[in-house]
């Protein structure tokens, strides 16, 4: 709620700093840009809710891998989009499965496990492709994402709203969602209440892999091209969007609506700074300071509520 309010305030603040910023077209543009981050941060939301220092640092690598897989398999052919998507999602699920098993069965801290997985995935990509990106995005992908689908809303925004609704269903209207929150708050209570904690956690990392892979697929439709670091810039914003959205880093509390608002706030901040014509280095510093300020305000609010 607070994050959403902040997004609206920032938007109109943009209007003050930049005449012409406040317009329907600009709003849709911001939402469209935020959608990529929002979809990639969906899995991150689940993993962070699962608690016990849960975090998925492999989302960037999975985004890249998924985009490259689709790029190759589709090779400009509309008919191959669905099979390519299936392969990409399966690859994401497999990587998530490996993360989940590493965390639960081998007891590797999530930060270490998923960071290691990033290295493995990126290394594998390099070895297999030799740095040569062969393939082509299918025309239908670009159209589905960019063309207006519902009134003025482009396909990507509709897809994001769909993801948001499904995520809400998953968290609030399924047994898995209820168990995930329980696992995030107190694993011993969950176990002694009949919850199979390892199953819930492994499924969560798998879901994160699948959602990141879907994010890679969508991103390819937008960029129409792939490169080795395609997903990397989304990694840390995906964590920041979750936290700005009010999900507790310690786990057990949060929502995907919050993450969506967090993605909007981050995208707006970046856009405003880009429009400000400050030098790149200054922009980076200002963004860092603003993020710190935002996150510390959130930390304080939680302390007050408890």
């Amino acid at each position: 709620m607070i994050a959403l309010l902040l997004a609206v305030v920032l938007f109109f603040l943009g209007g003050l700093l930049q005449p012409g910023f406040v317009s329907v077209a600009q709003a849709i543009n911001i939402i469209r840009l935020a959608a990529f981050l929002g979809i990639i941060a969906a899995g991150q939301t689940l993993v962070i809710i699962s608690g016990h220092e849960g975090i998925d640092l492999s989302v960037g690598a999975v985004v890249t891998l998924s985009a490259i897989l689709v790029f190759r398999i589709v090779n400009g052919n509309n008919g191959m989009v669905i099979p390519a998507l299936a392969v990409a999602l399966a690859a994401g699920a497999l990587i998530g499965l490996a993360n989940g098993i590493g965390v639960m069965a081998l007891g590797i801290p999530p930060l270490v496990m998923t960071l290691g997985m990033t290295g493995i995935v990126q290394g594998t990509i390099l070895v297999v492709t030799q740095g040569q990106m062969i393939g082509k995005a299918a025309p239908i992908m670009g159209e589905a994402i960019s063309q207006p689908l519902l009134g003025p809303l482009p396909g990507i925004v509709v897809i994001w709203l769909l993801v948001g609704t499904l995520m809400w269903m998953l968290l609030e209207r399924t047994g898995y969602g209820k168990r995930l929150f329980a696992v995030g708050v107190n694993r011993e209570t969950a176990r002694l209440s009949g919850v199979r904690v390892p199953v819930v956690v492994v499924l969560t990392y798998m879901a994160s892999g699948v959602l990141s892979a879907f994010g890679g697929f969508i991103l390819l439709g937008f960029t129409q091209n792939v490169f080795l670091n395609l997903g990397t810039p989304y990694l840390f914003p995906s964590v920041a969007a979750v936290v700005i959205g009010g999900t507790v880093l310690a786990g057990g509390k949060g929502s995907y609506w919050g993450t969506m608002a967090g993605a909007l706030v981050l995208t707006l901040l970046t856009s405003l700074l880009t429009a400000s014509q400050l030098p790149e280095a200054t922009r980076q510093i200002v963004l860092g300071v603003l993020l710190l300020a935002l996150l510390s305000v959130y930390g304080r609010q939680r302390a007050l509520r408890q």
Binding site: E172, V185, A190, S193, R196
Partner: protein, 509 residues
């Protein structure tokens, strides 16, 4: 050693809630004053004001005849005022010795004494509880200790400060009767030293054994200050509750209907044969439909392992049969699916999801029955019914469970299993640190479940409960069933205590 301390008409508000409207308490050297009251009556707030943890809004603290204000617990500690709290303050990864001497490491000419001397001093302190806890190495990390040993380390940590004034806040809740006896011997010694002691407890029997005076609180006010000799237990409980219905009456009422439910004819619901675990050796017993089987003995003799093994939550050997059918459970989920429920011993770390709603806590084991997408209105209706049946006092089902008082939180832990109509209910000291009103509710509930045919296995650290509620009591010592005491025959206080300390079958009358 001399001290006199009094709190006069102390008040404290948190936001719109008045925690303490008139807290008055006076204690002097060589005196034990019991501070009693239901959960939420203001005992803890008053204790925290005296020890400088909380700053009062009004009223006066008078120490040795002079008004004082403590800005910080250190200020109170510097004047010799300390407390042992129920919520443990120990650091899990540090050793017993490090925990005890934290912030006041033994010094010699201003320099820390060597490690060996510190360890010797720690052993000296631990020796005060020799015989009632296992021999402990002072370098053992606190996280490896049983709850009772942790509580004792907590007491010793406070005592190592050589305080003039000690508040024991529910410090006996995790202790068994032998450990309580030893603590009471120490308290008598402290009295002779000229220290002043405030003893906060829900256990009336202990209060009447140790206290010189009894101060009663209700709704944030001191409502009575009774001299022990002239006070009856009924009078104290009446002051606490503000009405005459009390826990003992509930116990007595329950006792009457135990005879209605003879176990001789009922079918065997749970059969356990040669159960073994890290602490258990060859434990065998049966529980019948509608029977309330008690587990007694000193703390940590394997009672918890029996409950956890039956619930499939720990590795174990031996055979378990439910209604004649052998079962091999690898996970509590298997037990839950078969209609077994377990109320754990520590509700905060094992029973509750602190920041989640009362609704989600009640429904945690049961979501599967609400389909996909979850029929949340049905789940809310069922949880609301359970909350009403248990008379849980709450702002609403959506309120976080950690907004509840201890007794109401415990009702939630029990309530989540009632929603599943368990056929076997396992309880691990369910009334620990719970106020008299909630205790009475829990006793009533156990009676209803028995009438409905639920087989109940009930561990309690409170001998009075075992004697008052159970059809049979198995007394454990060192992982072995030392005695089986049957109501109307061998179930007496003296037999229970004799078997607890490991007396053999022959000596039990």
């Amino acid at each position: 050693m001399q001290i006199s301390l009094s709190a006069q008409h102390v008040t404290k508000r948190y936001g719109g809630v008045t925690a303490l409207s008139d807290g008055t308490l006076a204690v002097a050297s060589g005196e034990v004053v019991a501070l009693v009251g239901a959960n939420g009556s203001g005992k803890s707030t008053l204790s925290k004001i005296i020890t400088g943890v909380v700053t009062p809004d009004g009223g006066e603290l008078i120490l040795d005849g002079q008004p004082v204000t403590f800005a910080h617990p250190h200020a109170a500690r510097a004047r010799g005022i300390t407390a042992v709290y129920q919520e443990l303050s120990l650091i899990p990864d540090m050793s017993i010795a490090e925990n005890i001497w934290l912030t006041h490491e033994p010094l010699h000419f201003g320099l820390p004494v060597n490690r060996r001397a510190t360890l010797d001093r720690t052993r000296g302190l631990l020796d005060q509880f020799a015989g009632v806890i296992p021999v402990l190495d002072p370098e053992t990390p606190v996280k490896d200790l049983t709850p009772d040993a942790k509580q004792i380390v907590e007491i010793l940590k406070t005592f190592s400060l050589d305080p003039r004034f000690i508040i024991l806040d529910e410090a006996t809740a995790s202790l068994d009767s032998q450990q309580v006896n030893r603590l009471f011997d120490l308290i008598e010694q402290w009295k002779r030293d000229g220290r002043a002691i405030v003893f906060v407890s829900h256990r009336m029997e202990e209060v009447f054994r140790i206290a010189d005076r009894i101060v009663v609180m209700r709704n944030g006010q001191t409502v009575g200050d009774l001299v022990h000799a002239g006070a009856s237990e009924a009078a104290v409980v009446a002051l606490m509750t503000g009405e005459s219905a009390d826990a003992d009456a509930a116990l007595a009422a329950h006792r009457d209907d135990t005879h209605v439910n003879g176990t001789g004819l009922a079918a065997v619901r749970l059969q356990v044969r040669t159960l073994t675990s890290q602490t258990l050796r060859d434990v065998s017993f049966d529980v019948h439909d509608g029977e309330l089987l008690g587990l007694g003995g000193l703390r940590g003799q394997g009672q918890e392992d029996i409950l956890l093994a039956v619930f499939g939550a720990i590795r174990h050997g031996g055979a378990i049969e439910i209604s004649g059918r052998p079962v091999q459970w690898k996970h509590p989920k298997d037990a839950v699916d078969a209609g077994v429920a377990y109320v754990p011993g520590d509700r905060n770390t094992q029973g509750l999801l602190a920041i989640r709603s009362i609704l989600e806590n009640l429904q945690l084991p049961s979501w599967a029955k609400y389909g996909f997408p979850l029929r949340t209105s049905a789940a809310t209706r069922d949880a609301g019914q359970a909350a009403t049946d248990l008379s849980i006092v709450m702002a609403g089902l959506e309120a976080p469970v950690n907004s509840l008082s201890g007794g109401n939180a415990q009702k939630v832990v029990i309530g989540k299993w009632l929603l599943r109509n368990p056929r076997i209910l396992l309880l691990n000291d369910p009334t620990k640190g719970v106020d008299v009103g909630a205790k009475a509710e829990i006793y009533r509930l156990l009676g209803e479940l028995r009438q409905a045919g639920t087989a109940i296995v009930f561990y309690s650290s409170d001998d009075a409960e075992l004697l008052g509620l159970c059809d049979r009591v198995l007394v454990l010592h060192d992982g072995v069933i030392r005695a089986e005491l049957v109501r109307g025959d061998s179930l007496t206080r003296s037999n229970l205590i004799a078997a607890s300390v490991g007396a053999s079958h022959g000596s039990i009358q």
